[in-house]
Symmetry: C2
Subunit: 386 residues, 2 copies
């Protein structure tokens, strides 16, 4: 499984780096800043795992053999989208580090500081906003330029005739049994755009909640945020994109969407767990940073629900105070285990794992064991902490 | 001319408002923030003049009669892009007002402040970043969903056969003599994306220069910024989009691109002039705000070139100090006239006006006098100040 993703990452990089180099040269026409963003993306993007790009390739493989060039290009587009979101997120969260280096906006801020520019930190944030925007625009340029053969998805046959024009609306599968070439690119772009608007809307909620100390949330509120901020975008979207490119039958799409949501929620809960119990050397982010930033995750929810009245004030001081040190994090860990929260959350994860596992086995097995790879990904996620 | 733009604005609004209302409801699935952005865009977008959307319709009219629905939809998409750019720009420039109301990020900041949230101003900036992103994503959703009839641009005939698949790369016109239906949407999206990456790159340069007190720029540096930050995006892009939708002959595209650049540079220079000599009641922004913000415009360039050594230090104090009051602005106005700068800049404008006027007369006259409207727009721009 990890080999598969490493291989796709290699392929995506091999496509993306020359593209970014070409854009670097092209953007120089505007002056000497835009090219720099492309140069920076060339080192930034390959430092990620390229989970989304890899998943898109995997999904294609469920329905079609081989990995045609447009599939890699679409995977690269998703990785640029991810870069844009991370660049903007780091500004919002004030994260100075990302992927083991300075975050992009902070790099600009540090440079502005070194040159003694006015309001250097704000200059860094402003340049970061533009850089994130550029990553989005480049991503759309890649999607719009997919070279799909006439009559079908990437590498598909031409049995539906050259470019018969059957659009079925972004996302929903109305009308056409299978998507045809003329409509695939617009449909793909519609799907990506709709999903990204959900991500940005969910991020707003996260920002807004993060700035409030005392906040009454339901478990549903939290799971909805997980769904729209992470799960659908990280899992459902690549799975759907791959299926559209492979011209999978329409009935597969809602199934893949749901599989993505379940995998994504498990992934996010495990991420929270890692944030609390993980080894910061391996996770790349300091233990307890979620707590320090006041992130309202499932642990937060159950702690407040079960902490009792006296525990409540104590927790408020621990969460979101920005002051939580080693001792305080230890205290929260003990509470999470002692109050049976860890067990309760694990149970929720297990229920979802069983359900998604069943759903995955209903997918076509795919060439090169694509379906098995998805099951492996699930298992890998489940044991990330243990 | 103003009637034409007012009418297109009406049509674009009539399409855009129900779309935003639909998205407002849809985004509610993510929680209670995303819908609010759409509600806010519903009042924000119609307060603009919708120059870009109107120009797109005008350009379509050069080549085809009528105004089919997809042309209005594409115009609406450009207005959403503009909204996204303005929302992000206001964060970067720290502009608290826009179109006579609180700027979007500042509205969020004020609300966060009223609710005593932590770091309220930063919360406002963060929510503004997301809101701008959402405007971009909605715009792409509109572009991807253009319902073009088989075989041609919006409302075009089918003489090139149903959806024959001839893509000719984003922007450049390689291969296909005319754009066909299958390729029109991807090509349009590629064109928009490429141009937006130029805008963002140019904006970076503007931010970076704005933060430097002493900066040696050539006239070319400034004109290049005008070209990529404003001119091409505001004029060339809508003209090209309209022509693509009308399936204009390929040879028209470079002509429209150049016309757009020239019109746009004139527009920008006149905007600078308004910023210095205009009536703030009419322009909607305080006189001299460019000077206060240290914007490096053509006036800035000539003032420094002609101010002499003693004038230099004085100018440095006036520009970018954030302190320029009425008296200082009066002083700059006198210098601009006394040193013959106004005259020199007017001459540059006139040269360009003559050139673009000649180029416009080479365009087809269009139904409903589209070509004449473009000439009127030029004349209107030229006399905006006088």
């Amino acid at each position: 499984m990890q080999d598969f993703f490493a291989l796709q990452k290699q392929k995506i990089s091999a496509f993306l780096l020359p593209f970014l180099e070409k854009k670097r040269k092209d953007l120089k026409r505007t002056g000497d800043m835009g090219g720099g963003v492309c140069a920076r993306l060339k080192t930034f993007v390959p430092r990620g795992k390229m989970l989304r790009g890899g998943l898109l390739v995997l999904s294609y493989g469920l329905f079609k053999p081989g990995v045609p060039a447009p599939v890699i290009q679409a995977g690269a587009a998703l990785e640029l989208v991810q870069a844009g979101l991370l660049i903007h997120d780091d500004i919002m969260d004030g994260d100075l580090e990302r992927r083991g280096e300075k975050s992009l906006f902070y790099e600009y801020a540090a440079r502005a500081q070194a040159r003694k520019l006015n309001r250097a930190f704000h200059v860094g944030e402003s340049l970061g906003i533009c850089a994130g925007d550029i990553a989005f625009f480049l991503s759309y340029e890649l999607l719009s330029g997919l070279d799909l053969p006439a009559g079908g998805g990437a590498g598909g046959s031409t049995r539906f005739g050259a470019g018969s024009h059957t659009r079925s609306g972004a996302g929903a599968g109305i009308g056409a049994e299978r998507c045809t070439s003329a409509g695939t690119i617009p449909r793909l772009i519609g799907l990506v755009s709709r999903e990204l608007s959900y991500v940005a809307a969910a991020q707003m909620l996260d920002v807004y909640r993060g700035a409030q100390d005392r906040l009454k949330l339901s478990e549903n509120d939290i799971l909805r945020l997980y769904t729209y901020k992470t799960a659908r975008y990280t899992f459902s979207l690549p799975l759907l994109c791959g299926a559209l490119l492979a011209r999978a039958a329409e009935k597969q799409l809602p199934r893949l969407e749901k599989i993505g949501e379940l995998l994504g929620i498990i992934f996010q809960i495990k991420d929270d767990e890692l944030g609390l119990f993980g080894d910061s050397d391996k996770t790349g982010k300091p233990v307890g940073s979620d707590i320090k930033e006041g992130k309202k995750n499932l642990y937060y929810y159950y702690l407040f629900g079960r902490g009792g009245r006296t525990g409540h004030e104590r927790l408020l001081n621990l969460f979101g105070s920005g002051q939580a040190g080693k001792k305080e994090i230890e205290e929260i860990r003990s509470l999470v285990i002692g109050l049976g929260i860890q067990e309760k959350i694990n149970k929720k994860v297990d229920q979802r794992a069983a359900r998604v596992s069943r759903m995955i086995t209903q997918l076509p097995s795919g060439r090169g064991g694509a379906r098995e790879l998805l099951l492996e990904l699930l298992r890998y996620n489940l044991k990330r902490v243990a």
